[in-house]
């Protein structure tokens, strides 16, 4: 592989890692700050990706035996001629909106109940979304999937250099979302979320409506995930229900947040790069190490090992580190989110 080949590979790697970083940020809002246990990331991933893809891709092509009805590409239909690149922005906003609405419904049902129910419900949502897109061919071409998803500003640069442009686009979106999440969790609103995570009863006693705050956090995090899904759709430009299997759309993201350190946004982004680096890097290893099943097994072992050995992840939550330097050694678990 020559130098430019390596560079192209690294750019592609960085785009995927940054898209995963967006999911890790969304999961951080759920789990890291509020303690909401969402194991159905794949559902929001798929919803976001499909929403953006359906809004921007060309209408179905009967010659390819495509018979889904909502052929998207509203710009070409002449409803509102924003031009395709503005529709890209609309698609992202719609992806966030759809995920937010689904999160609102699920959250309203489950967040009043015990914590465990949310996780089981999100698992069900993820599977149901997949069944829907697999079986309802009219919605998104079933298992054959959607392709010909357009590039954002694809005319601007030559196709072989397009990834460089998209790298900048993803970087900008990631930076905006990072700032937004960081600002949200530093605000008084974010303090309430962390209080809920630490001690729900005491927070309720302080006059906070636990349910409302949890619901807001759940919707906010899910919208962030929806945006990640939209960016993913325009990057890989092919979607099928099989893209959103629980491994690469849920578990890897959990591993990223756990490795990086839940409760810390820098950790979430760092974890995304580290885990995706390990995941993508191990395929070059010889023998059993490159086997996808082995890597799957290792993702599971990694999650358990982090829970046991280093629950704070690589970085840990900032606040804890400050406490640790000034206070005497803690007798209980120093990372403390028990």
């Amino acid at each position: 592989m020559d130098l430019s080949g390596i560079l192209d590979y690294l750019v592609g790697f960085a785009i995927m890692a940054m898209i995963y970083a967006i999911f890790a940020l969304g999961l951080n809002v759920h789990w890291g700050f509020t303690g909401l246990f969402n194991i159905g990331i794949a559902g929001f991933f798929a919803l976001g990706a499909y929403t953006a893809a359906l809004l921007t891709s060309p209408p179905p092509d009967p010659e390819q035996f495509e018979d889904f009805i909502f052929g998207g590409n509203l710009a070409q239909h002449g409803l509102l001629n924003f031009g395709i690149d503005l529709w890209f922005v609309v698609g992202i906003a719609a992806a966030a909106a759809v995920c937010g609405i689904v999160a609102l419904i699920i959250g309203t049902i489950t967040l009043r109940l015990n914590d465990d129910y949310l996780s089981i419900a999100t698992l069900g949502i993820a599977e149901s979304v997949r069944f829907f897109f697999l079986n309802e061919k009219w919605a998104a071409n079933g298992s054959k999937g959607l392709y010909r998803i357009p590039k954002f500003m694809g005319d601007l640069v030559a196709p072989e250099n397009y990834d460089y442009l998209y790298l900048v686009v993803v970087l900008i979106v990631l930076a905006l979302l990072f700032a937004a999440v960081q600002r949200a969790v530093r605000s008084p609103w974010g303090r309430v979320l962390r209080a809920i995570r630490e001690d729900e009863t005491a927070t309720a006693a302080a006059g906070k409506n636990i349910f409302h705050f949890k619901l807001q956090a759940f919707v906010f995090g899910s919208m962030v995930m929806g945006i990640g899904g939209a960016l993913f759709a325009h990057h890989v430009r092919f979607l099928s229900p099989l893209t959103f299997d629980p491994l690469l759309a849920t578990f890897v993201i959990w591993a990223m947040l756990m490795v990086g350190g839940s409760g810390n946004n820098v950790g979430a982004v760092l974890g995304a790069f580290v885990v995706w680096g390990v995941w993508a890097g191990t395929q070059f290893l010889p023998g059993v190490f490159a086997d996808p099943s082995f890597r799957l097994c290792m993702i599971g072992v990694l999650i358990v090992a982090i829970m046991l050995l280093r629950p704070g992840g690589l970085v840990g939550e900032w606040r804890r580190m400050v406490v640790r330097t000034t206070a005497p050694p803690a007798t209980r678990d120093p990372t403390g989110f028990d």
């Binding site: 069944f131 799957l296 999650i303 829970m307």
Partner: protein, 351 residues
């Protein structure tokens, strides 16, 4: 920090009636709900194909074996075990290893025993798989969950760890047996034709009988042995059980042992009923399992049994009207409905 005290208070409040006998727990509200549910079912009855109901009961007994283990662990250890489906799959694959790799070497082979599609090897392999998974579940508890519990970790941390275990087990299965479809050696057999267009495969009768025997055995264990009583006591109130001299460590071992063994049997039966083994089969089974557990009320094995039969029948009967590939979504819809109407399950308290 979420205090351990408030945590246990909270969960004790939420799981107040686990493992309680049904008899004394029938209040007016509960009876009315059951009557309404019964009327809804009865209203649908003339439109249901009886054959699908029978299939649903067979499928439901497989769900029941998995769900009872899941609800015991959930009630006693306060752990919603996401790896339970993968324990099932692992059990099925261990049995496959015995049937395919071990028994032929000692000359035990064959399929099509009597009216069944499978042979003696599966009958030998099933208890072995149950033993292996039971011991494995106990070992994993000592390795992972006990350490987390000793540290005072909350339910979400435990569930997260179980998610990691689930992924690791599935990866291990794929690594050893590949991701391809496997199956036990089998002969094709005719089905029994009964009146009203009911067709029962002989395997289905076997599955139902195994389920009934195991559930009855568990009932005797829980109600007539010291360990069973200790398990119920621990489920009701762990701290009180500990101070009254119950060896909670042994209770934990028995809980995992029973849950793991029943999961393994459920996995083997599932592989027999579906006529195939796939690494993903356990994960796919999680939603019906949790639906049954929530329907019956977390920690209540008899509730899980009833819940499993309801879920199984609903999933099968729904194929009469909707696309069969939506079967898991039907289980999910039932679960959401129960969470909306009676979050503690049909036998739980209303408040």
């Amino acid at each position: 920090m979420r205090s351990v005290f408030s945590q246990s208070q909270q969960s004790a409040g939420n799981l107040r009636s686990p493992l309680r006998r049904l008899g004394p727990a029938l209040s007016a509200g509960r009876v009315s709900v059951l009557v309404v549910a019964g009327m809804v079912v009865a209203g649908f009855l003339p439109f249901m194909k009886l054959g699908l109901v029978v299939n649903g009961l067979i499928f439901g007994s497989v769900i029941a074996l998995g769900a009872i283990g899941l609800t015991l662990v959930y009630g006693i250890l306060k752990l919603g075990n996401f790896a339970h489906g993968d324990y099932m799959a692992f059990g099925a694959y261990v049995a496959f290893f015995v049937v395919d790799g071990v028994l032929p070497r000692v000359g035990i082979e064959g399929a099509g025993l009597g009216p069944f599609t499978f042979g003696i090897p599966v009958l030998i392999a099933m208890p072995l798989a149950a033993l292996v998974v039971a011991l494995g579940a106990i070992a994993l508890d000592g390795l992972i969950y006990r350490r987390l519990r000793d540290r005072g970790a909350g339910t979400a941390i435990l569930m997260m760890a179980s998610l990691g275990v689930a992924i690791a087990i599935r990866g291990l299965i794929q690594l050893i047996w590949t991701g391809d479809t496997q199956h036990y050696p089998r002969d094709s057999r005719q089905v029994y034709h009964l009146p009203m267009d009911v067709r029962i495969p002989p395997d289905g009768i076997f599955v139902a009988v195994v389920a009934v025997v195991l559930v009855f055995g568990l009932y005797v264990l829980l109600t007539h042995t010291k360990m069973g009583k200790a398990m119920r006591a621990t489920s009701d109130n762990p701290s009180l059980a500990l101070v009254s001299g119950i060896n909670t460590r042994h209770v934990v071992w028995w809980t995992w042992g029973i849950g793991g063994a029943m999961a393994a049997v459920a996995g083997v039966l599932l592989a027999v009923v579906q006529a195939q083994l796939l690494p993903i089969m356990g994960w796919k089974f999680l939603i019906p399992l949790f639906a049954a557990v929530i329907l019956g009320g977390i920690g209540n094995p008899y509730g899980a049994l009833v819940g499993a039969l309801i879920v199984g029948v609903s999933m099968e009967v729904s194929t009469q009207w909707i696309n069969p590939s939506y079967k898991p979504a039907v289980a999910f819809a039932i679960m959401i409905g129960v969470l909306l109407a009676r979050p503690r399950g049909i036998f739980g308290d209303t408040q």
